[in-house]
Amino acid sequence: MSFPLLTATAALPAVGAIVTAAVPAARRTAAKWLALLVSLATLALAVTVLVRFDPDGDRYQLTESRAWIADFGVRYELGVDGIGVALIGLTALLIPFIILAGWHDADPSPSSQLRSSRGGPNETKAPYKWRPTQGFFALILAVEAMVIISFEATDVFLFYIFFEAMLIPMYFLIGGFGDRAHAGSDENASAQRSYAAVKFLLYNLVGGLIMLAAVIGLYVVAGNFSLQEIAEARANGTLDMATNTERLLFLGFFFAFAVKAPLWPLHTWLPNAMGEATAPVAVLITAVVDKVGTFAMLRFCLGLFPEASKWATPVILVLALISIIYGALLAVGQRDIKRLVAYASISHFGFIILGIFVMTSQGQSGATLYMVNHGISTAALMLVAGFLISRRGSRLIADYGGVQKVAPVLAGTFLIGGLATLSLPGLAPFVSEFLVLVGAFARYPVVGIIATVGIVLAALYTLVLYQRTMTGPVKPEVSAMPDLRVRELVVVAPLIALLIGLGVYPKPLTELVNPAVEHTMSDVQKKDPQPEVEAAK
């Protein structure tokens, strides 16, 4: 048996997490460097996966298969298609930037140091004042490992375990390492933080429990957990599922993914979580972890339950449209920079889900590209926002003004991140957004037209944010603000280069994704609508 590359890609950050956590307390910097090196090595493995993967080859490649829990037919089965490869690449790419951007986020906070040196009684009262650096970076690597294996698992049970287990490190990252820039008192901040963390946990846990029921149900019906076997059996008619059974199972899976994605009206945990977490963790949530939800819709909902997927399409499209417009309108109304980005993400997830369920090649290729591009653009915008917030100590838009005068590079990168968020043609998100729109329009013209409203609203919330924070007279509080530092530039510059590169030349990505999308289209047995006129070529 050849080298288990997929296992290695997921195992490396997992081992790295354990080793990082074991670094002695005094060697904080060593732990940071270790985590960064592990994430870079993981990126190298992900690139190897990308190189070894042949887009025009078999549907699932680099497969691994071992018996695990034989009694229940649970197998350790891994395999990637083009969509999985793209998302593993995105994850492995973003983690080093997240680590680098959060370099100082888990240093002992100045106030707690002050208190412990005084040895005052306050120390015991603030539960989240301890900021163990090792833990922070170990948790990030743990999340990376679980996300990567979720993108690889072709066994439903295996997927489910890591889909759920991911919640634990995420919970600690949100609850334990909150944003220091908080308007309220320390206690208030810590209360809101734990509220956000618990809300995140409970929403996703409920989704997960319902999914667990569906997973068990699937086993009862199909007798095993293998994605490929079940899909094949369904396709050649050896596995017959009653319509209602299929619909119920579909709903169980979809509910969990819709919480994670998140889809309106299950979205309300996201603004809390992204607002209270540090900016790099917020990126981890929206750019990486949430992508498992949309990815799983494509792989499991459409792959296992094609008929039920088609049955639910009208309702899901309406919910996606609501997400697009509702998320954008709420972003316009936000006063907190990070919550604004969170609502913008909800709008973007609406586009992704729309692209998946319109069931056209353009829509699904667009949705997959959208997952990658949204990851990069949100990372760029949110991380620069984090740099900005750490300088001023406030998340409120109203506390800023005139920053471009004192920190032009910071303002410039923030603007580019914003322009990517509003899908400016020439930047990567435009390609995916336009594909989703065209794909939607081709099958449901009205849906496509309504979704274009999102184009205008995205410009509104982005430019209003830029105007209020960056332009106008310089506020006294920001007048001494330093421009981006070298470490920060190292984080932002490659992301911006990628946004431009994938906007001008997305072909490598589309070629990776297209064959996988064709497979999904054949899963659901849908054909693209043909143009009315066959134009002279």
Partner: protein, 631 residues
């Protein structure tokens, strides 16, 4: 030869990249680099033009395919260029006038510490506009289209520390975005109808689909054009865009940006030709805007805003002509080119006046400047004569042709459109004469500025006056040159086709009528502003004047309907999201498992213990499964 096309775009794009990413080291030479690369683009354009002239009329189209851009099943978008006579005309105008504006800006922006960045944005503007007119498909055109929007956003808001400039920039981008929705939907319609959105295949296949489809595509393209070209109802950004430095206004109004809408409609001629209803709407939009801009232009005391009203009105003429179909396409483009010369000249002249007058823009505080700024006076004066259509100058030829073409549309429509165009000519003569008199004639009404500095009007430096002189030449001679032997018509005909229509009036009658209304307009302005002293504070004015000063209440309308309505909507949604959606979802969860009560408890500090038990539970679960495997 076709391999040079990409260089047209690449040269200014390179300039933008270098100037914007380069550091302070480039501050001293950045403006020269920017100007040089703009000029390089113009030189390449001239080379390509010469080459094109050497070929037969029907063999002049060049194309260059760079790479496949977005290849997805059933969807093909390429980065590919097409250079035909229509694109060539635009390329020469954009790079030529653009280069002159670069030269002018060297002097105008001399004392601005961010001059390097300004030139980076100017280069970006040229690159985007050139991409727009060179693209061989609608999606790539969209990239240039939005690039122009971005560059204008950056330039209008160049002085970002002024809240008014930042607001104006945002407004321009947003209004344009509404237009972009039109362009998006048009492209999607083309995709579902023709399976492609490349110019060639789409424009050849228009005959194979229904008129309804073509009308829908046409109207969506018109919406896009309204945004970029500041046509009613998306005109409101143009006046505010004067917040940018004056060379920007010259660039936006003459060579780039506002001309994009006219280009889009003329380029899509085959679609509009098959959709008479869409054409009718185009002509109506053009006619309404033509009057709207002219009326606003009459009431403004700010010299740049008066000129902005005039741009709106002149672009209205072009849109009107483009809506006439093959009768008007050639003249729309011809007027666009001559307008490019005289409007750029007028704006640069206005900038020169402001330069000498402590940046004062209120014409009521000008007066008698002709003695102090002789070169500005003469070049501005020639631009003035050109725009009002003084016989023999550029504007005379191009505008007269549009009025003729409007009548040649025939029927009641033709009479109405022709009369509106004539009325517009009279108002143009009136408001431009007003600008001329208030600025250069009469008494000195100068006043010290806010810091107490009395103005010392003086002629501008050579780097500013030379571009003005060149543009004045164009304003005087371009129209005549184009019209001798119908040169311009023969040049563009292979692309746009041409149809003479059947005018109920002879050409001489139309020209005569134009002359009569011209004299009336000038005379009225002379009586009002030349014979009597101009009051320094504006009189209250009639209801129409007051409305016109407020841009015919466009912003008041937008504010009440869109801004305030929008604010209420978002605010109430924030409330709904917080209390209703969140509450209902939490409540549903509660009814399903008492989670709400637990959530409340957890908020009070049990969070960690709960999480630990969660973690423990998961660990037990995994251990159990592993054990089971062992057993």
């Amino acid at each position: 030869m076709e391999n040079l096309i990409a260089l047209l775009v690449a040269a200014p794009l390179l300039g933008a990249a270098v100037l914007l990413c380069g550091g302070r080291a480039l501050d001293r030479a950045g403006h020269w680099l920017g100007t040089l690369l703009a000029a390089a683009s113009f030189v390449i354009a001239v080379v390509l033009f010469t080459d094109m002239l050497g070929k037969g009329a029907e063999e002049r189209t060049l194309s260059q395919h760079l790479f496949s851009w977005i290849p997805v099943e059933g969807f093909q978008a390429d980065v590919a260029f097409q250079l035909d006579q229509l694109s060539m005309t635009f390329v020469l105008l954009i790079s030529g006038v653009g280069t002159l504006i670069h030269v002018y800006s060297i002097g105008y922006m001399e004392h601005d510490e961010r001059r390097r960045r300004f030139f980076g944005y100017l280069n970006l503007f040229l690159a985007a506009m050139l991409l727009l007119v060179l693209a061989d498909n609608y999606l790539l055109l969209y990239v240039g289209w939005e690039g122009v929007g971005l560059a204008s956003y950056l330039l209008i808001g160049f002085w970002q520390h002024k809240p008014s400039a930042a607001t104006a920039a945002k407004k321009a981008f947003l209004v344009n975005r509404v237009g972009d929705v039109g362009l998006s939907i048009a492209i999607m319609l083309m995709f579902t109808t023709f399976g492609t959105f490349a110019f060639g295949p789409v424009l050849e296949a228009t005959g194979q689909t229904s008129e309804g489809k073509l009308t829908a595509i046409g109207l969506m393209l018109l919406l896009a054009a309204c945004g970029k070209s500041a046509q009613v109802p998306l005109q409101s950004w143009l006046g505010d865009a004067m917040e940018g430095p004056t060379p920007v206004s010259a660039l936006i109004h003459a060579a780039t940006m506002v001309t994009a809408g006219v280009y889009l409609i003329v380029r899509s001629g085959a679609i509009f030709n098959g959709a008479p209803d869409a054409q009718l709407v185009v002509t109506i939009v053009g006619a309404v805007t033509l009057l709207f801009g002219a009326i606003v232009g009459c009431a403004k005391d700010d010299i740049k805003k008066a000129l902005a009203g005039s741009t709106m009105s002149q672009i209205g003429y072009m849109i009107l002509a483009a809506g006439l179909g093959p009768i008007g396409y050639v003249f729309a483009i011809m007027h666009l080119v001559t307008h490019g010369f005289f409007k750029a000249g007028l704006f640069l002249g206005a900038g020169s006046v402001m330069h000498g007058m402590n940046d004062e823009v209120d014409m009521r505080k000008y007066g008698g400047l002709r003695k102090y700024m002789p070169v500005t006076f003469v070049t501005f004066g020639l631009g003035y004569l050109a725009i009002i259509g003084f016989p023999g100058l550029s504007g005379f030829f191009s505008k007269d042709k549009i009025i003729e073409a409007a009548f040649a549309k025939g029927g009641t429509e033709g009479w109405l459109l022709g009369s509106v165009a004539l009325l517009g000519a009279a108002i143009t003569a009136y408001y431009m004469t007003r600008v001329m008199i208030m600025t250069f004639f009469g008494d000195k009404r100068w006043q010290p500025d806010a810091d107490g500095h009395a103005p010392h009007p003086h002629e501008s430096p050579k780097s500013m006056t030379i571009p003005m002189i060149v543009l004045a030449f164009g304003s005087v001679f371009a129209g005549g040159f184009f019209s001798i032997g119908d040169r311009f018509m023969h040049w563009l005909e292979p692309v746009t086709r041409h149809d003479h229509g059947n005018s109920p009036l002879s050409a001489a009658t139309v020209t005569g009528a134009t002359m009569v209304v011209l004299v009336i307009g000038v005379a009225l302005a002379y009586v009002q502003y030349g014979r009597r002293p101009v009051p320094v504070t504006a009189p209250r004015g009639s209801l129409l004047t007051r409305a016109a000063r407020r841009d015919l209440l466009q912003d008041d309308f937008n504010h009440v309907v869109l801004v305030r309505g929008g604010e209420h909507l978002t605010r109430s949604l924030v409330y709904v999201d917080h209390s209703l959606v969140d509450g209902v979802v939490n409540g549903t969860a509660a009814s399903m498992g008492g989670l709400s009560g637990r959530l409340r408890k957890l908020q009070n500090g049990y969070a960690r213990s709960y999480a630990v038990s969660m973690f423990g539970g998961a660990a037990v679960l995994i251990a159990a499964t592993l054990l089971m495997r062992a057993v």
